[in-house]
Amino acid sequence: MRNLLIAFLLLFGSVPLVLAASSEADFKAAYAAAEAANKEAGSLRNQWTVTAAALNAAKKAADAGDFDKAIASSKEAEALAKASIFQATSEKEAWKALEIR
């Protein structure tokens, strides 16, 4: 069991070493995708504050040179933005379920 745990840790512990090769280019792509999704959420009049916060965190990390963190935050921002888009589109019908009639 303990050996299994060590093997597990070694396997996943080594992953960051691979990711450490992330470049600024990777960050820029991830950030652009997140920004585009957030912009679409904006056109649907439904942006989330946490999306903006994740984008800011991504930018801050990138400015500090930590592209791993910057990419992680960008991906989080993109996921949040996409969720807000899903919310806006599904609520177009779903609101009726709450309506007092």
Partner: protein, 287 residues
Amino acid sequence: MIMRSAIHFAAAAIALALAFAAVLPGVAADTIDPVADAKAFRKFFTDKFPKVKLEDFVNGPYSMDEDLHRQWEVKEQFPPYEFSLEMGKEMFSKPFKNGKSYEDCFPNKGIGIRQNYPYFDEKEGKVVTLELALNRCREANGEPPFSYVKDEMAALTAYMAFTSRGKPFDIKIPNDPRALEAYQNGKEYFYTRRGQLNFSCATCHVQIPGERIRAEVLAPALGILNAMPIYRSEWSGMGTTSRRFTTCNSQIRGVPFNPQDDEYRNVEYYLSYVSNGLPISGPGARP
């Protein structure tokens, strides 16, 4: 600005088209019927709270909780909104640099008219709220507009509400498809969930009024705007309807729109209309 309005109109048109096209069980989806809506809205809350008198719904949480009600009655003898109200009265009577004053912008010199706002401006094709009308009055007379979320606008609307105390909300929806659409958009906004916390206005004020969210007792949606503007202990100060709409959005982690954006004007129109007949109780105080 025009582009955005076009997008809004298009989005609203699509939304309406979808609403009409959708087959809703047991509901005639063909017409927007504010009269039926208001009746159902009122019945929902009076059924839910049979012991609360209709006119008492305007006191929000104080009509939901006996202990809160007692404390509020005592405080109303020396209400915290007094300073803002006095400031509002002074501001209202002070002329602009060009010699004119707010009196000249409003019917009946601005006294006892708050219950008629918002109204649908048929020339402009949009809902006009009291706050918007006040700033337009200022700008028409060469004065800079006030922030919709700060003390000055709160003081002015506090005074105007005070002159209408006791008068029932009297919101009109003219027989104009644009007015009906604005009303419907306001209604849709009210029930639409938003923000990361996925709350709609209805989530708190229709589904669980009288219950608590953290330490606060939730107000019912019926009569919820009648006490505006309010001195909120949470804010340690007076706040406008715009302030409440925007801060509520951010509290549920939704990016707020700009104060007096269409969505806010329309939801104020909807909420005021369905509270027609209930007395203006503003300016108010809340926890």
